[in-house]
Amino acid sequence: MSINIPDVQGKRDAMKELVTEDMLKEVIEVYISETDSISLLDIPSTFVSVDAHDAEAIIERNNQYAEVCRNRMGNDKYVDRSMQTLNGEAKNKQVQSDSIVMVDTAATVTAWDMYDTYISPEQDETVCVPQAERADYPEVAVDTSRGAEKNMSVGSSTSSVASSLKEQEALGNGLNAESELQLIMLSEKFQHLLLVTERSILGNVFQPKLAAYRELPILEGKLISINVMIVSDSDIPMKPGTVEQREDTESPRPPAVECLWAFSCELSRGRSVSSMAWNKKYPDLLAVGYGELDSSNQKPGLVCCWSHKNPTWPERVIYCDSAVTSLDFSFNNPSQLAVGMQDGSLVIYNVQSRNQLCVVSSSECTNKHLAPVWQIRWTQQDLSLTGEEKLEALYTVAADGKICKWFICNNGLDCIELMKLKKIHNTKKKAGGNKTEKKTESVLSALSPGLCFDFHPRDSSIYLVGTWEGLIHKCSSSNSQQFLETYRKHFCPVNCIIWCPLIPDVFLSCSSDWTIQLWKQDHLNPVLGFSSTQKAVCDIKWSPKCATVFGAVNEGQLEIWDLNSSILDPVIVQPAAPGVKMTSLLFATQTDCVLVGDSDGQVTVYQLKNLTNICESGAKVINVTLANRHNTTFFLS
């Protein structure tokens, strides 16, 4: 009987040999012997000392076990039984499968990638739309992506093969590129990007001029970005190139103006600048009104808002129905711009939005002006009782002789008449005190056109008006019947009146009779008169920083007067370009610059150099001159 011991089976297979006939006939002797005993289980007894703790329990168990063994024989509890298991045949089975293709994928996770994924459910809608458009060209899209990968994998790709491939693809994707381009061009974000890019480019182009405007040191010969402010010392460490020192070194140089740049574009070329105003909140935003002042050339007017960030194209362009004669920004709502026009209408625009919003117009108002609005002014009225918010009112003076105060009601503008400029009989003349006027009995209008006005800087109920006849009236907003004072000196239309912001009670007036007069509020005769050329003086402004400096513009030149140095001649004279007349003037509030508008539509920025900065003695100069005038009767006019 063969004993089937599984672990020995291998040996038997290896010893198979070929069986021949001779071998079969052989007598083989088989010896059977007893193998050694194979011990399958051997558990030796455990010895426990009699003195141990559980000795008694173990003895008890031993006794129990001995009893079980004794009772085993012939007991029904235990029955002998034998079993045999059948071992089935082993069967080999093999399975083969396709090799699993392994692909390596890697992803770089960045912090912002995770952030985008969390945010993306909100942005899915916006993403879907351009995707739909691009589904029209699936094959082309795949090609381009593969092309891009190829280019990337080449690395610093100047190999001609890759680049020529790309060229072909770039050329071949004409259709796809067109539609993409259209999409991009229509988006507002692109417009914003273009704006920023244009400003950066212009920043580079105009950098020295803008640096001079901001009174930063100018480094010549090197490109420096505007944002880098280098404070210059006399010993510059490493930078080559010269530094233009701002202060005079040894000898005082004569005062002069230097032309920095000009705001002009093709829209404004050919139009005459009629008025300019700074924004009250952002002192770098300039509004310029264009309009022909002679009635022969009636072009519709234009208002442009310029910023120094882009001197070649205005930030906002507003087309108006008729020529613009004056404009002013509001104090309380800095984005509101009030524009007065030649046909007498007054419109308030909101310059904040790109698609310009006309806030309100005076076209429906019943008692609006019928003649050109020569000046517009927003004035803040101090209310000592109520808190911080100052009330603001809009005033206009027009050629129909009325001064009106406007307010917004029912989506329109409405006005109340503040004063009528009645004509005064020429022969009557009293010194000081209130006058009683007599209306002339002519058939024509008894009102004389008002050309300019200005409110007292400290007391906003007092204002001065200049008229066509050359008279200057001081009026109060509480008294609409009578003038408080009349100042007579000019015999031609008074073009501009302006209070001095630094010296109290002093104002300047300029007129077409070629003179500029300096007045003190309580003197009916001018303190000083200035004239330098025989041309009508169009505009005049005080310097905001220096009490004795003012600028004047007549048709041919820009004059800067400094009362400290000379009262006979202007300190600086800048002639206009040939063929061009200068029409308006504005001082920059924070730097030493003046802006001059001319009849060709250009607003040129000039920087004042080397003006002495002694500003405290302004009042003294005026007072001294006044005292001198009383002593001597020497008129300068």
Partner: protein, 95 residues
């Protein structure tokens, strides 16, 4: 159209050598330079913009790149990136 006018104005500014608009895959879709320069600029700057944007956003994921200027000896490259495209302007201010 306003955008066309602005593009024309930029192109006529002093020293501007070229303008390229590149889509999000790095393919130039509008250019004023010759083809080989365009392709070169587009490919190289695409990588630079990706890197710059990734840098900015890694530091603060709520931040994003708005403008990139590369000043070199001879000229300046200004890049205005957006989600789907970016705009490249090359200027030589001393022209």
């Amino acid at each position: 159209m306003l955008i066309e006018e602005t593009l024309k104005r930029i192109q006529s500014q002093k020293g501007v050598q070229g303008i390229i608009i590149v889509n999000s895959e790095g393919i130039p879709i509008k250019t004023t330079l010759d083809n080989s320069s365009t392709v070169q600029y587009a490919g190289l700057i695409h990588q630079l913009v990706m890197k710059a944007r990734s840098t900015v956003r890694d530091i603060d994921p709520q931040n994003d790149l708005t403008f990139l200027r590369v000043r070199s000896k001879k000229n300046e490259i200004m890049i205005a990136p957006d989600k789907d495209y970016f705009l490249i302007v090359i200027q030589n201010p001393s022209d």
